[in-house]
Symmetry: C2
Subunit: 262 residues, 2 copies
């Protein structure tokens, strides 16, 4: 049986809340075995951009990334957020190493072609270097991955963290027994968006289709769940969506929503 | 005989000049064998700080680093500068990995005690984890190190890049044949500060003492040279100070100033 590997994604809302982030890191640091953390950006990039008089433009929750904004996200995601997570984890005895997709060439992407919208310096993932990531894991390092990739032309590219987590999980599934866990500010996928306790404990493609058809599962959750089911199809052993505070229980299937391929 | 390892430091003046930086990276990328790049910060941190309305205070060329300034150098050194160097090197076929001292816990420091001047979040190096660096090198990765370290308390700390290069070179000298090369905007140590061609081809402690006594070697160069001689005493095989454009020749001792321990 393959060695177990957790790929854990932490959302921007948790990054933005220092107490929530500390609680999460304390649990993450203690999680035994091999693990990878993928983090979102949070609101700091927008705040720093505003202070630098750089306008933030979002389309469907995605950031339009012109060159000045690319510099901001490189500074904030690759520098400020990533390195502070690493320093905090090191102080918790967790041998973290902060990486973008460019570092070790682990995640290469291509600049998104312009169709109706020019997203600018945004990358669509082309290749995950699973051997390089495995080699980093085998050096007793815990990768902490920022939502940035790079192109063959040597440019950094802003990249969706959910998609990066899923792509990394799929790539590693060839040689590890991968659990992909999305941690965010809700207790899981909710059957009632107004009731934070109404957690759907498990989802299979058929029930997902029903929830989508009835409108119970909302717009923002759909790309995350589509990513989740795709990851399962491509060999990831299990996917869990949970509150960042519940990571310790969620790894045992005791919290959050577990996504199955029935 | 031990395997050869280059520890190459590139100064902020080169980082600030895109053409000079590209020329340097093209040569660095082609340099055969194991190598580590340590980079300075350059003026971008000061420019970004100014745009964020954060005042830059320098004492003897050292940056006073309060918390807002620590965030700026973390963004600029650890994010913007480091990740762009990595992406550029990757596009040149060089498997770079960008690191601060916190990443993999490779360089731990302690916050400088306040004596007459409070430097703020500035670190004095306490420990270089040579085994972890060797393990990264053995994973076919080329470390690109930003001038930031971390404390046991989980804080990032601003750290002098010259000192970091020297400390890394010394730590690696236990298991590698280390050449330490300081690349900057002059052709070497000059015997006449007004003549850029007046390069002192080699320096030993006795001649260094003479040049210092006569005032030929000036204030800014003294910490660099003190670092160089200390590195030699502690086992580094050779130290070279050269122009960033001359790296290709300097590795063969055909450019710059070679520092010997006679």
């Amino acid at each position: 049986m393959s060695e177990s590997l957790y790929v854990i994604k932490i959302g921007g809302n948790v990054i933005d809340n220092p107490d929530a982030c500390s609680r999460f890191l304390a649990v993450f640091a203690k999680l035994p075995g091999m693990k990878i953390l993928v983090h979102g950006g949070g609101k700091v990039a927008t705040q720093i951009a505003a202070r630098l008089q750089i306008e933030t433009q979002m389309v469907d929750g995605r950031r339009i990334t012109d060159k000045p904004m690319l510099d901001v996200v490189t500074m904030v995601y690759g520098g400020l957020v990533n390195k502070n997570l690493v320093a905090a984890l090191q102080s918790l005895g967790c041998n973290a190493i902060g990486l973008t997709g460019a570092d070790g060439g682990i995640i290469r992407s291509a600049k998104r072609p312009v169709k109706t919208i020019d997203y600018g310096f945004v990358g669509d993932i082309e290749e995950v270097n699973d051997n390089q990531i495995a080699s980093i894991l085998n050096s007793n390092l815990i990768p902490v991955i920022a939502p940035l990739t790079y192109s063959n032309e040597g440019s950094l590219l802003n990249t969706n963290a959910d998609t990066m987590a899923s792509a990394v999980a799929v790539a590693m599934a060839g040689s590890f027994d991968v659990k992909l866990i999305y941690c965010f500010e809700k207790k899981g996928v909710l059957s009632d968006p107004d009731n934070d306790e109404a957690v759907i404990s498990s989802l299979i493609p058929a029930t997902y289709a029903e929830y989508k058809a009835s409108g119970v599962i909302n717009k923002g959750m759909i790309p995350k769940l589509d990513n989740a089911f795709l990851a399962l199809e491509k060999g990831v052993a299990s996917v869990i969506i949970c509150h960042a505070d519940d990571l310790g229980e969620a790894v045992f299937g005791a919290a959050g929503t577990v996504i199955y391929n029935a």
